[in-house]
Amino acid sequence: MIAASTDRSTTIAGGLRIVRPPRPSRDYAVATLIWHVPPDIVWTSEPMFPSLALEALLRSANGPGQCSAVDRVEQDGVYLSVARTHFSCQLEVRGPRHSIPAAIAELAAVFAVADVSEAAAAAARRIVAEDIDRHARDMAVLARYALIRAFTDDNSPLGAYPEGTRELVEDVNVAAIGRTIRAMAGEFPMTAVCSDQDVAEMCTVSFAAPTPAPAATAGRCLIRHPVPSLVRVRGGSGSSRGCKVAWGFLAEAADLEDLVAAEVLIDALGGSWYSRWQRLLREELALTYGTATETITFRHRGRNYVLGTVALTVAPSAVDEVAVHLTEQSRCLTESGLSDGEWRDSSIRLLRAAALHARSARAHVQWTAHLLEGGIDVEFGAVREQALRMPDPEVLARRSARLLEPAVIAIAEGEDE
């Protein structure tokens, strides 16, 4: 089955979908393999740790000369990077264009064998522990998790590090890793985003898996009510002296157009130098170096969600003042919304800014992977482009008003100065 959209080609092969954004090729290629895993698999009675499992598999000596997969592909100049989010585990494969198809084949071969050594498992545990340590002291991460927990509940897997805790990771043994690898090879849906045709074809040959079982019927909505308007968390010992303030919302999206409305709203508030809160909090009040925005779309238990945040780093002495301003701004936004001009300007800006993703093969693949990692329909790219091309401020305002019921301010406070 072939599904085409205006800016990328898509192929479906069993449980694997392959997306290839168009860009003139140079001598460099990138493929990102995305396993769509549910956010709670670390917290079940038989937990799975996909990024730990991948790190271990790649480091296990299992080929000629007792080399590992990473030994072999790095000899050809190929970099491998594992990343974990709440909705996926990703393996980025990048390097000289002529080396990537062979690297993909190599990775498929070690997946098929699924042979993990004790030494590699120990190294993988250390690498994931480092990631956990780093995240535990990152105010941006802590603020984001606090914001999500405000909308869900204190035990939500979305409000904690996706690969669990140090204690959980230290207990992961080779048998559990093998179970995870086997599940990744056939149980979870998979997407490969490839920078060129040769790489796409090798992914089809190497990773086309049986169609996974259909997802369970729609579960209950993640969002709880009532939602607190302000939450605070404190970073542990050794965290930075800075505070992170994150304003945002987590909402169920009725359709793909809702996701676009969220993206435009977030951009208009903090996505550019002339966005509303960048002007106020940086240019007028000099309370921060700048705002950072994030819009994440994901599908969970049959429902589509969107998380939109505007975050900023502030000194401890300024955090209360920033919270007051954001509370007032949030109230104004709820009452009056954005102006027609703000809706149009941000829509056009986002549409034109799509060209920026063509600045490199890696950027193009990363952007497409970001759109698709939450398991949202691959047609989202085309829907997004169409909605941005012909923005209707009235419709955008109506959609965003629903998403903003309510918004939350989350503050992660670092150590005192």
């Binding site: 140079r26 000289p96 690498i127 940086r282 000099a286 921060t288 986002l350 799509a354 600045r359």
Partner: protein, 423 residues
Amino acid sequence: VTQLTHITIGKAQGVLIQEPGVPLVTTHLRVATGGRDDPPGQAGLAHVVEHMMFSGTRQGIGGIGQGLERGEHARIIEAGGGFVNATTSADSTCYVHAVIPEFLGTVLDLERARFAATAFTDEGMAADKAIVLRERFQRTRGRSFGDATERLLAAVYTDGNGYGHLPVGDQDGVSRITVADCYGFFSQHYHDAATSLVIIGDFDQAAVTEHASRLLDAFPEAAADGAVDSQSGDTGLIRTTTREEIPGSGRSQVFIAQPMPPLGSADFALAEMGAVALAHGASSLLQRRLIGERGVAQAAKANVVARHRSASMGVLQIAPSQGTTAEEVIAELDRVMCEVVMVGLHEIDRERARSMYASSWLAEDDSLISRAASLGESLQVHGGIDSYQCHLDLIAALGPEQFDRGVRFWHQPDRRAEVVYLP
């Protein structure tokens, strides 16, 4: 098929690379001045000037009409979906844009307007100084171990050579800066001999050549004493080993900084290659030995973090694993490095490093913005782009002795600065 055009206006240089089919054009305007030129007591002046370049102009585009307002430059670019940024390092200040091809003319007009009709005001200065201090906070104390680079620079560059402070500036230095200081700095350092421009993308070669020439013409002729200082050497560099310990940091982290060869020298590429051999990729030497075999670390990195024209600085960053002290991980690191320096890199490690280093270069070359930055650096440091274009040949030709020399830069146990964060 790419087409390359060189332009020279006075002593300013430009390189235009036409690359058909790319829906994006990037511009990289580089001025060879930065934190190194900050006067004593005014750390951050070059950086404040960079910020002030967005604070408005005396005349409108093409010298016609009213000047641009503060922030208007960025507003125009971003309204077109473009990317606009500027950075200040020790030796250079760079103004970067990436836009759809239809906006290239606007970018070049805006650039000319701000460099030909600069307007620094007290009001803009007050705002920019406050924002610069927020930036400093975000880059240093605002994140875990964020002050490590500042501590290492101060320890490695011991003399008043201008490299011992962060280009972002500090509280005292920034607070002393006046509008007159900014004008003085601008007129002294923003001249043709210090300026280069790189444009890459799909554009009309003839029209853009003319447009870019007009932009470069906005830079005045360098004064007789305004030539860019290119002296190199290791005066003012660390001569012993120092250690600073920072307790109460929550967890251990070890930073070891060592002097590296000057940017642009043949040895500089070897030092970069050494970093790749040691810690880039999961099968690199330190990752394999410290994380995998010995189990004493959970992360190991090596990077040339300060690329300076007279002497650079390389930093090893090691995160000890649980149950391992900072002292133990440093001892293990030294054991591994001693062994490598004595025996030399194994052929497998050498060829892996060669492939990975070439791969990093290909990644940089594949990105329009990174390629423009590298070409700009090459113009500034070498006066041309031949060294950039021949980089892969250079990597392919490196022999075993050169690899070993590259690794040795990362093991100077008698001459390094250690910053150790303790739990």
